[in-house]
Amino acid sequence: MARTLINAPSTARRGDVIEIRTTIAHPMETGFRPGEDGKILPRDIIRRLSCRYNGELVFSAELFSAVAANPYVAFHTVATDSGTLALTWEGDKGFTQTENISLRVAG
């Protein structure tokens, strides 16, 4: 399990646009860089980040080797209902991790 950091409000009013900032500890090895032995290190990156709000996909990002290590992605969504936002990271070497955050929507 990689360490993740998710910064999002825990409460919001209905219709508010909230910002979700995420980062995950990952080397994002590009696949273009030689290692100590001079051989190219195999690629190991996070290829996709998706956000499901109560099961519905509201945002996704496709990442490539050009994204920096410990990939940081910030995006927005409209607070519609109380519930959970599931953030899923998927990558090379079968990497997959999901983190849930809860959001309480008032009004």
């Binding site: 646009v17 909230i18 910002e19 900032r21 590009t30 273009f32 860089r33 030689p34 709000y53 519905e56 509201v58 945002f59 996704s60 990002a61 496709e62 990442l63 490539f64 080797s65 050009a66 994204v67 920096a68 290590a69 990939p71 940081y72 992605v73 910030a74 995006f75 927005h76 969504t77 409209v78 519609t80």
Partner: protein, 161 residues
């Protein structure tokens, strides 16, 4: 003691000045050649993303430092001027680069539920180059913004942690 007058230089002789001049010209030409090839690849990546549809400039704003000290971590954000309603919203945003080993940087899929067409990430830049952000709107049009970035410490150098 009398010095002999300097020998007249014959016209086709290879002088130091000529050699340096032609070497510089050759270097400049080679650089222009590679730069043009890289821009072509960038343009090709953008047009293949747009699926051949015209890509106009405007609406999109790619924010990135013009002078980058460390190419390993470069904050970048893309904002699109859109009301983000069900009828008029941004479907996708993509960022392309000119001179990294791969043209793609990141592609984001948004929708009316995004509320605000603004994404931020951090990228690696191999060298001084151009970056292009392209947005696809719900009406099918494509808009872009191109930025030139100067990188002093490149990413992807050997022995780099």
């Amino acid at each position: 003691m009398r010095r002999p007058p300097p020998a007249p230089v014959s016209a086709p002789a290879i002088t130091r000045r000529r050699v340096l001049g032609s070497a510089a010209a050759l270097g400049a030409w080679a650089q222009i050649g590679t730069a043009a090839a890289a821009s072509d690849e960038l343009a090709a990546a953008v047009s293949s993303y747009a699926g051949g549809a015209p890509v106009r400039t405007g609406k999109v704003r790619l924010e990135i430092a013009e002078l980058v000290d460390n190419g390993n971590v470069v904050p970048l954000s893309v904002t699109v001027d859109s009301p983000m309603t069900a009828g008029d919203h941004v479907l996708a945003i993509a960022v392309f680069n000119e001179k990294n080993p791969q043209r793609d940087v990141a592609r984001f899929t948004l929708g009316p539920r995004a509320g605000k067409a603004s994404v931020t990430t951090r990228v690696r830049l191999a060298t001084t180059q151009q970056l292009v952000a392209v947005a696809q709107l719900s009406d099918g049009s494509f808009w872009s913004h191109t930025v030139n970035v100067i990188v002093t410490l490149a990413a992807c150098i050997e022995g780099d942690p």
